[in-house]
Amino acid sequence: MTEMEPVIGLEIHAQLKTRTKLFCTCPIDPGAEPNTLICEICSGQPGALPRMNGKALELAAKAGLAMGCRVNERSLFSRKNYFYPDLPNGFQTSQIDPPICEGGSLDIQGPDGPRTIRLNRIHLEDDAGKCVHDPRRGRTLVDLNRAGTPLIEIVTEPDLGSSAEAMEFLRKLHALLVRLEVTEGRMEEGEFRCDVNISLRPRGETRLGVRGEIKNLNSFRYVGQAIEYEIKRQAGLYAAGRPVLQETLHFDPDRHETRTLRSKEEAHDYRYFPQPDLPPVMVAPGLLEELRASLPAPAEETAARLRGQGLRDEAIALLMDRKGAVEYFDRAAAIYDGPGRIGALMAELLLPACQRDGVPVQSSALGPGGLARLAELLDQGVLGRRAAQELFGELFETGADPGELARERGLLQISDRGALSELAAEVVASHPGEVGKYLGGQEKILGFLVGQVMRRSRGAADPKGAGEALVAAMAGLGRQGGDGDGN
């Protein structure tokens, strides 16, 4: 029998990170009491009219730009008509033709190497409310707090060939949209959810087979499991010579199986038509330029740049994982040109401290300027590594100036050559015996002499500089003595 290959396309709904709903000024809060965040617009009262949230438009366009979509200067909202208790107007407001973004793609690392997954479109739409089923009363209860929440729907081409690829694509897309601050992406809140279209066809065949559509999966794992199950189910049908029907399916994560929601014959007739209450969605060229400029560089480019600046891979990974860390790093590195040291300090001290205290990097009391100064003191040898670690807790808490705090605490190292030479000369003068031994070839005695310099400086001397100063001072003596002996 011919080998069958799966063909998978995804439709992802991501909730946009706005403060208000798509068509009214009600705030968005999944934790609010039922039906407290509603007004005449999002509850579908007679006479109420929608007014578009400009931020939602920007976020949708931004997502499109980041994935190389064509952002349409003019797109339209349509009404998608159907009756359901959580749909207050009797229609959803969505984009059909044209949507705000078309085309574009996202590259993923597939099991057989890198692959480009093409996007069909991104469009804006509003979410429905929530139905809660009350089996005791035999009623369905409706909460409209979520009704009108802005979403983008991202539709891929059927370019995915396995559950592993689908999951990798979703992870990559999720990370990108979160990094762009297009969505909060909390999957447990349903802020990032996915419909899967899946069909099988004999390998080598170019036409698509009959597809099943699995609705509303809100975890990467469920997507993987649902695809695996559906591939097996459809393959079983083909093997048995039975037809695969075009259906809408529901995935039951407890039983790991899909169930029919409705067949093609029951498919809705949504009667789409242009929404007459809303003007066309306009994206002016100026806005597009602004959005383009605000886009962060792609992750690969950022990593390569940081590597070029001398950061170690572990530090790069940490910085890129933490929101705002790369921006913090760039600001610090602009103040003091010691990227390697700054990166190391962030990876070893700053980011762990932020993590521990739950403080976002960008709002840490120790700002990029302070951290840059700390790196500079370390590089100059004025502050030792141990002293830096000792100070860090307080710097992180208070945002104090590292130089001043080190001075106050007496932790600054003397690395000034003149001062070290003076100290070395004193020690040499007061320890003629040890100096003699050193000059006689017992070089290990230098450690003792360095210790004496440290004592005289009350620990503030830079030990490396002190050793050098001692060697220089004793070298002078040796030459003098040698000369005398020779006379």
Binding site: C39, Q45, P46, G47, A48, P50, R51, N81, P279
Partner: protein, 484 residues
């Protein structure tokens, strides 16, 4: 002193400014007129008597405020405008007990200008109809003949103004619903340009057609009300940002400088002879005063009835999907399940004409028919707009009849929807185009008012009012309805 209820809006405003009477006097007079005439007219669905009196007394206590042009003036509003906490039924059983949680923008603006809303007027259910017979709450009668309809859908508004209950009322016009009842009741009505007035808080019928506008007994009074309600609104995205004209102070046009286009397709209709007689006499009078006429072809107007009914019904079918018995409004008794709850609540709550239009609108949007009906109609709408633009090229305004027949006896067309739709032929084109229009009395034919309408360029309401003032001076006043 003349009876206060006889005064027009502007006259009453002057009297108030000169302290000849108080707001309370004026509002009381209006309420008294309503009390006396309602048994005959049935113009009002709700009379806000106590609230109106309280408000008038408050205004009197605060003292006359010249910065509020409608200070102390009683007005009626059609029952499609949301008043917070007050009944707002749109003439439908399905909204019988509904109380809005918010106020329509135009109502807020009327109140901000100092107006006192005394009544909510009757209308065809959801503004669908041209006789007010499709109100779920009984008929409104024509002030000139109680055996005849007042026109519609703003029939209550027209009857309340023509019957001297109020000096001005607010209606809505989706396919002629201000202009036609104004003509049939013998008062004036203005449909502004689409987007000139906010639609926020107006129970929707056809979203790309609906406009609110005033009905009154004088041209100047139309301007006073329009000035108070016009202009952009942060709550209606389709309201226009175009600058607002000085509608309350327009100069009268000189008849000798007016060229009016006469659309061939509208003047060639099959007129009732009495109506035709009045129209021809009016044209002679205007010509005698120096007005020039020019015949203009608008060939695509023969499609306007089909175009309008397809598009407006489509919009209506989804605008009315929210009446499902879930969140507000009528819910069918019994508890047979969700599907039956939807079907029974809607079938019981919505009247026959509304259901007819929902059926038509659902059909033209449904899979397989969208292209041939809905999209095709939207294309023809463009052709009609183009015809309109060309027609105005060589003239200042267009002049057309409003209705080919005068107010008709009750029941004439209730079982013949298609004929009733075709009667809207004269008024629909403006709504398809989005342009402004004004209907005014041209005279009496067989004791019934006959109207004429002026149609203008988008956002030229000031020009329209100015021309209408000239016509108002030339055409003879109708006098009082009998039995007033």
């Amino acid at each position: 002193m003349t009876e206060l209820w006889r005064l027009g809006l502007g006259q009453a405003a002057q009297g108030l400014a000169k302290r000849q009477f108080t707001a309370t006097d004026l509002v009381s007079a209006s309420l008294e007129r309503i009390r006396l005439s309602e048994p005959r007219l049935g113009a009002c669905l709700a009379v806000l008597g106590q609230e109106a009196l309280d408000r008038a007394r408050d205004l009197d206590r605060e003292g006359h405020d010249p910065s509020r042009p409608l200070w102390g003036l009683p007005v009626s509003v059609k029952d499609v405008f949301c008043l917070k906490g007050a009944p707002t039924t749109a003439g439908s059983r399905i909204l019988e007990d509904y109380r809005p949680s918010f106020e329509a923008t135009v109502v807020r603006r009327l109140r901000a200008a100092g107006a006192v809303i005394v009544a909510k007027t009757n209308c065809d259910e959801f503004a669908m109809g041209s006789s007010t017979e499709f109100s779920a709450f009984g008929p409104t009668r024509n002030p000139w003949d109680p055996g005849r309809v007042p026109g519609g859908s703003s029939g209550g508004a027209a009857a309340s103004v023509a019957g001297f209950q109020v000096p001005a009322g607010l209606g809505t016009d989706t396919g002629g619903s201000i202009r036609q009842p104004a003509a049939l009741c013998g008062c004036l009505g203005l449909k502004p340009t689409y987007g000139r007035v906010s639609r926020y808080g107006i129970v929707a019928y056809g979203s790309s057609f609906d406009q609110a506008g005033p009905l009154a007994r004088r041209v100047d009074d139309l301007g006073l009300v329009l000035a108070a309600i016009a202009g952009p609104d942060g709550l209606d995205s389709t309201a226009s940002g175009r600058p607002v004209g000085d509608y309350a102070n327009v100069a009268e046009a000189r008849p000798g400088e007016l060229t009016l286009g006469l659309p061939d397709e509208l003047w060639a209709a099959d007129f009732d002879p009495l109506v035709l007689g009045v129209l021809e006499r009016a044209r002679r009078e205007l010509a005698g005063a120096g007005v020039r006429f020019k015949a203009v072809p608008m060939p695509n107007l023969r499609f306007s009835v089909a175009t309008y009914y397809i598009l407006a019904a489509a919009e209506a079918s989804t605008n009315l999907a929210r009446y499902d018995g879930v969140r507000y409004g009528h819910r069918s008794g019994g508890d047979p399940g969700l599907l039956a709850l939807y079907r029974d609540s809607r079938t019981e709550g919505l009247g026959q004409e509304v259901r007819r239009r929902i059926m038509l609108g659902t059909f033209v949007l449904s899979s397989g028919y969208y292209e041939a009906y809905f999209r095709k109609a939207a294309q023809v709408r463009r052709l009609i707009q183009e015809d309109y633009r060309k027609a105005l090229e060589g003239c200042d305004f267009l002049l057309a009849p409003v209705s080919s027949i005068p107010a008709w006896p009750f029941g004439s067309f209730t079982d013949d929807p298609l004929t009733a739709y075709q009667l809207d032929m004269m008024t629909l084109p403006l709504n398809l185009v989005g342009a402004p229009g004004l209907s005014m009395p041209a005279g009496l034919g067989g004791g019934l008012p006959v109207g004429l309408q002026l149609m203008g360029r988008a956002f030229d309401e000031a020009g329209l009012l100015s021309a209408a003032k000239a016509l108002e001076r030339i055409l003879p006043p109708l006098g009082d309805p009998p039995g007033l």
